[in-house]
Amino acid sequence: MEKASSQKTSSPVGESKPRIDAREKVTGAALYADDIQFGNKLLHARIKRSPHPHALLKKVDLTKARRLPGVKAVVSGEDFSGFIGLYLKDRHIFCRDRVRFVGDPVAGVAAVTEEIAEKAIGLIEVEYEVLEPVFDPEFGASTQAPLLHPDLGQYVVASFILPKPGSNISNHFKIRKGDVTSAWKKCKAVIERKYRIPHIQHVPIEPHVAIAKVDESGEATLWDSSQSPFAQRDLIAETLGITQSKMRVIAPLVGGGFGGKAGVSMESLAVAIATRVKGYPVKLLLTREEEFYTAFVRQGLVAYFKMGCDKEGQLLAMENTFYWDGGAYTEYGVNITRAAGYSCTGPYEVPNVKADSYCVYTNHPVGGPMRGFGMPEMHAGLEQCLDELAHMIGMDAVEFRRRNCLKGDSILPTGGRMHPTGLSECLGKAAEAIDWGRKAPPSAPNKRRGKGLALMWKAPAMPGNASSSAWIEIAEDGVLTLGVGCQDIGQGAFTVAAQMAAAAFGVPYESVRLATPVDTRYSPYEWQTVASRITWSTGNAIINAARDARFQVLELVAKAWNETPEDLDIVNGMVVSFKSEREIPVRNLAVTGLPKADGKGWMGGPIIGHGNFMPAYVTSLDPDTGQGEHAVVHFTTGAQAIELEVDLDTGRIDILKGVAAFDVGKAINPDLVKAQMEGGLIQGISSALFECLQLKDGIVQNPNFVDYRIATSADLPRSIQSIIVEVPQDDGPWGARGIGEHSMVPTIPAIANAIYDAVGIRFEGPPFTAEKVYLAMLEAGIVKG
């Protein structure tokens, strides 16, 4: 296969084209799932949820609810026996014998109005037998903890996930590389630290919403705010005993996902209820409160790091242990555990590694994919630890990283080799942009100023055969219609898809439109819009589809002109011959073909290109050692640096400057890449300074915007700089790699390192609220009591 990075044509790749979907969004015409009009037949669903974090479900009485006028269906776990899950089938659509978190769905109602549905929920009588709950992952992993999933051993599980039946450990990922025990002896400095990273939530501004309709023939249609229409089709169909081709998912625009709208969470509830009211669309829209505690959340983490280096600052060994608070169901979270395991050294070369990454069931909200997929949580502690280690041997933190960071051909913790990477360049540029090494005086006597920096890496965490596909069809006006299965969740996927199709085929960007909304009946397959994989994976599929369409065109014209396709090209929608200098617009032949030269008939036909992409080279990892030749497709690497001030009167953190440098391989649309860097930085700052799901006895105390604070327009750094580094990925479209998640990964430790630089204090974990900082300064004697 011709290397993608050596594409001849490039424009409009590399140009900051305006978003293809901006106009509909600014006029209010853009349709999100809750905006679709369904007419008088629309029913409204509400869910009866467990008030207990852990209990046996003894009895569910639906009779009174069923008798309420206006109620069309009432269902419970008794009606749906199937298990559901992406990597581990550990969940039912509605609980059947046990509830495992506050909010766990026990029953569902469809009624003619939301109010009647609410009333009906109140009439459902449930008997529970309360069980001892588990709220801590370390305790949950121990033999003293009650078992939350006694049948773990019977669950269907992906081959690369390793549960421990008879425990609460749903995945144990290990790395055993080299010999850490002897390595410690060779270290000049060794550090051990523990970090506790709290749960946070994605907080998309659009809450989860799903509308499902099952018609008389049993064919199901699901309209939902979704990052994963095809995965939803597959998983929900399987669980309900519907064959996949009879389950259709239509995915309109998404009002923010951040991973929370991947996989299946609440969507199966709507489809399940809809099976009982054939012919009626049933809408389930989460309240903001439900969004906070019943949709996916980001898992909590208790992390132990031990790392050591020699006197030159060379890292010799790491021993890292992660206890992931996976929550009640870890069908998705198990892979976060794995990803953190194989990434556990951070983007550094470490010859001796011992890692244990445990995914542990707890009676907390359900952990799922959130921007970074374990990387922000892990780097939060790792990059602080590294700073401390550097400090121990008296070495500058940037210099320490320069010596240890991965370069092309460095050996990975899983044993394979790192590909060419601009990590060192990112480090250098971030350090330079923050003016590393120079300490500016504080802006006032009651401030302390500091700088901090952190590196990161992340690979798309997905099965080795996660794939993409695309089709291209051309209309009489020469405009390309591009079919994709990926979703634009705000990151600009549709825009760059159009740019890549335009470049690969040979038309202007404005001559490409997308066949959206994605509809699994017509759209080509896409694994999921997650993992920052779309530009890379779907991009490759688009190139293949464009190439296919191009070939059909060039072959046809070559035949008509009696030339060879190699002498022809498509430029700006025109087929041109370098040899004869003849030209013909693509639109003249795209549908109708061309007449034969002798006038005796026609050649060609409607041009329709198709292409797919599936990486062929990902290998499995040894279950005991975590070693394997090719663990992941690639890594995106990068750096962030922060300059901040701490206010001595209140403990408040004021971010003065935030700098980001990421190696994206090739910026297909530089403005959109920078927009991801900006948005990720702010979301990172928000997670570092404000965000925390306050869990007490399994109950979220702050499931609302009043008490779950996210960054507002007033919480921005005074200045921001986003730096694009481009070291091509050999199998990326024009060399491109992903960026969507990475921009949020190093922010917590960069800020933590800056706080330490300012006031000499570290914390067990974020958020670094003003209160936490102030009370720590008090304890340390920096301010007076």
Binding site: P18, R19, D21, A22, R23, E24, K25, V26, T27, G28, A29, A30, L31, Y32, D34, D35, Q37, H202, V203, P204, I205, E206, P207, L253, V254, G255, G256, G257, F258, L285, T287, R288, I489, G490, Q491, G492, D671, L672, A675, E678, G679, G680, L681, I682, Q683, N704, F705, V706, I710, A711, T712, S713, A714, L716, I720
Partner: protein, 159 residues
Amino acid sequence: MAFHEINLTVNRGLEQVRVPSNMTLMRMLRESLALTGTKNGCSAGECGACTVLLNGEPVNSCMVLAVECDGADVVTVEGLAGDLQLNPIQEAMIHAGGVQCGFCTPGVLITSRALLDRNPDPSEEEISAALVGNLCRCTGYIRIIESIKEAARMEMVRS
């Protein structure tokens, strides 16, 4: 529950609607008038996705009862553009990249329009303060602020 016949102007058009007491302006716009540009992000007056102009001033429409709007003038995102062209704030938002997922965008546009109407040359601090009631999770607000500055410039040049 009581029902009320209300008359109001929405996006320069006269509307007559029958609403129950407990229906919010947001729900009336979205459900009775099918104006789905205004979004439901929290129903608690916190996120600003439901912001509309009520008698010229931005409000969280989820915190206003429809019945209170009898005789009122309401402008939603669908009413910002003229017949032939977009409102400068919409043009600027496209041009300066202030849109990502777009869900906060209608509310942001309304708040920004009102800001520029009362303060045609706002400082960055004034823009930030005006926007605190519009939560955005995608952009980090940076290009939204740029968009507003660009719209202000455009309007000063045109006037």
